[in-house]
Symmetry: C2
Subunit: 316 residues, 2 copies
C-alpha cells in the first residue's frame, strides 16, 4: 500500500486538494468552489471535498497519513485554527476540530510556509537545507527552512518576512505597521511605482506599451519596457531590485540561507530578475564582509506548490 | 568524575576561560591579558591559558568534554576560524587548527550567540525554547534560540540581528550597509542622540546632569534625566524605545519568540526599559493582529555569560 498525504490549498473562493506521495507526485486532484463569506458552507464544502479525496484514496489502495493545509493568512498551528484570511468572514475558525470525524492527523500552516517546504523537498531548492522563499504577489509571503525543517515560529505565526520594516515610518502596510518590505517589494508595490513613474514621465515607452491607458498597466509593463531599453522603466526596475535586495540582505544577515526561492507572478521574469538580485547581493557582500554566497532562483512548482507543500507537512 | 566543558570569552586585549559544569556553575576561572595586534602572541597566550585550565581540571578530577569560544566578531564555525574581530589584526585566524594538539573538540561561535545560549540554559530565559537575545553596546549583537537550539546560520554568520535595515538609505553602518538597526538602537546611537538633543535644547536638565560638559554624557544621562521628568531626555528615550521596538517587532514577525532578553550596559535600566518596550510591542500588537505575546526581560548572567555560554555549546 503506497503511502500518501492529502495536501489542501485553501482559498476563500475555491479549495484544491490532492493525494501526494512521498516523491511529491500528485496522484489525484480535486477542487471545489466555495464561499468564504459563509463560513458554515465553507466548512461543509471543505469536508465534502476531503471525503471525496479520501474515498478516491481508498479506491487507489493508498494509505493516507494526514491532511495538511496551506492557508493564505494567519493560522494557529497549535489550535488548528484559521485566525484570519482574505475572502473569509470569520476569525479563529476551528478547522481541525470541525474535521476531527475524518479521523486523520491534521496540520494547518501558512501558504508561503508550505510553498517553501514544497520547493525544498521537490522543487527549485531540492538538496538544500537552508532555504528562504519569498512570494511576490499582492503581498510578500515568506517561508523559512532551517537545517531542513520548516520554521514557523510560535503558533505558526512567524516567518512573516514581508513584515519587516524597510522604511521607518514609511508607507502604511495592511498589517498595521508602516514601511514594511511588503509595501515596497510586492507585485502591488511594483504596479504602484510603475504608475507613479509613468505619471511623472509622459515620454516613457511604458505609455505606448499600455496603449496610453494607465489602466492597462500590469506587473509586466516595467519589466518588458526595461528590457527594450526604456530609461524610466529601468529606473522602476532598479528601484524594485534595490527594495527587494535590501530585504534579501536582511535575511542574509539573519539566516545566511544557501538559497532564496522567489515565487509569485513576478518570478516569471526568471533569470532577468534573479541575475539582478544576485548582483545586488554580491555588490553588497551578501550583507556582510566575506559572508557566504546565497543563490537566488525562481520557484519551480508554480500552481501545484500549495497542494504538494501542504501534503509535505507530513513527510519527514 | 564530574563532566565539565571549557568556555572561553575571547577579547583582543584579554581572554577569559572557565570550567563550567552542566548546571552552568563555573568551577574554576582564569584570565590573561593579550595583544590581538600580535596574532602569534595572541594564539600562544590562548593556548597557555587553556593548558592551565585543563591542568586545573585534572587536579579537580573533572572530565572535560570540549572547548567552546564566544568571539566578538565574525567566525566560521565550519572551519573553526576567527574571520574578523575588533582589536585583532589578522583575518581568518585558524584557531581550531592551532589548538588541535589540546586533543579536545572545539567549537567557535559568536559572543552574542553564546550569551543567548547561556541565558536560555541558565539565565533570564531559562525554561523557554524560543528566545531572542539582543546585546546593546557599541553595536547590537543578536542571538537566536529556535525550539531550544542555537540558530547560527550558515558558517555561523547568521543571527546578525543588528544588521537588518530600519531606515532605508539611513545612517552609515560599520557593516557597510546603511540604516541598520545597530545605528539607531546601540548604546553608541543612544549617546549620539542624547548629545544631539542637548545641542538643540540648552534648557534640558541633561546639561546640569553632565556638569555642563558634553564630554560627561553617558548612556545614563538621558535615562536618569527622563526619570526626573526632563522633557528632552524623555524625547530621547521615547525615540530610542521606538527604534528598538521596531526592531523587536521585526523579530516578532520573523520568529515569534516567547521571550526577548536584553543585554549590554543599557539593560541595567531594568524594568524601566523593559516596561516601555513591552508596552511598545503591545501597542503594536506584537507586529501583527492577535499575535502571541513576547515577553521582554533583561539578561541575568552579566559578565559570566560569555564563559558559561561558550561552555554551553557542548551541553545538549
Amino acid at each position: 500500500m503506497e503511502k500518501v498525504n492529502i495536501g489542501v490549498d485553501v482559498g476563500g473562493m475555491s479549495i484544491k486538494a490532492g493525494l501526494v506521495n512521498n516523491n511529491g507526485d500528485i496522484l489525484f486532484k480535486k477542487s471545489c468552489v466555495t464561499d468564504g463569506k459563509n463560513v458554515p458552507k465553507f466548512l461543509e464544502d471543505m469536508k465534502n471535498l476531503l471525503k471525496e479525496v479520501i474515498e478516491e484514496g481508498k479506491k487507489l489502495n493508498l494509505e493516507i497519513g494526514g491532511i495538511g493545509f496551506g492557508v493564505p493568512g494567519m493560522v494557529n498551528n497549535k489550535l488548528g485554527t484559521i485566525d484570519k484570511m482574505a475572502n473569509i468572514s470569520g476569525r479563529n475558525i476551528p478547522l481541525r476540530d470541525y474535521l476531527s470525524d475524518l479521523n486523520l492527523p491534521i496540520y494547518i500552516s501558512n501558504d508561503a510556509n508550505v510553498a517553501a517546504l514544497a520547493e525544498q523537498k521537490f522543487g527549485a531548492a531540492k538538496g538544500y537545507k537552508d532555504v528562504i522563499l519569498l512570494t511576490l504577489g499582492t503581498g510578500v509571503g515568506g517561508g523559512v527552512i532551517c537545517d531542513g525543517k520548516l520554521y514557523e515560529g510560535n503558533e505558526g505565526k512567524g516567518a512573516e518576512l514581508g513584515h519587516v520594516v524597510l522604511v521607518l515610518n514609511g508607507r502604511q502596510c495592511g498589517c498595521g505597521r508602516k514601511g514594511c518590505l511588503e509595501t515596497y517589494a510586492s507585485a502591488s508595490a511594483l504596479l504602484r511605482e510603475t504608475k507613479e513613474m509613468m505619471e511623472e514621465h509622459k515620454d516613457s515607452m511604458m505609455w505606448e506599451y499600455a496603449n496610453n491607458d494607465i489602466n492597462n498597466v500590469s506587473g509586466l509593463t516595467s519589466f518588458e519596457c526595461a528590457k527594450k531599453g526604456d530609461k524610466w522603466a529601468n529606473q522602476v526596475i532598479d528601484n524594485y531590485v534595490m527594495y527587494l535586495g535590501e530585504g534579501l540582505l536582511d535575511f542574509c544577515n539573519i539566516f545566511r540561507p544557501e538559497v532564496f526561492v522567489i515565487g509569485g507572478g513576478i518570478s516569471n521574469q526568471g533569470k532577468y530578475l534573479t541575475d539582478k538580485l544576485q548582483k545586488y547581493l554580491e555588490d553588497h557582500n551578501y550583507g556582510y564582509e566575506s559572508a557566504p554566497r546565497s543563490e537566488v532562483v525562481v520557484a519551480k512548482l508554480k500552481n501545484d506548490a500549495g497542494i504538494i507543500g501542504a501534503a509535505s507537512l507530513f513527510i519527514e
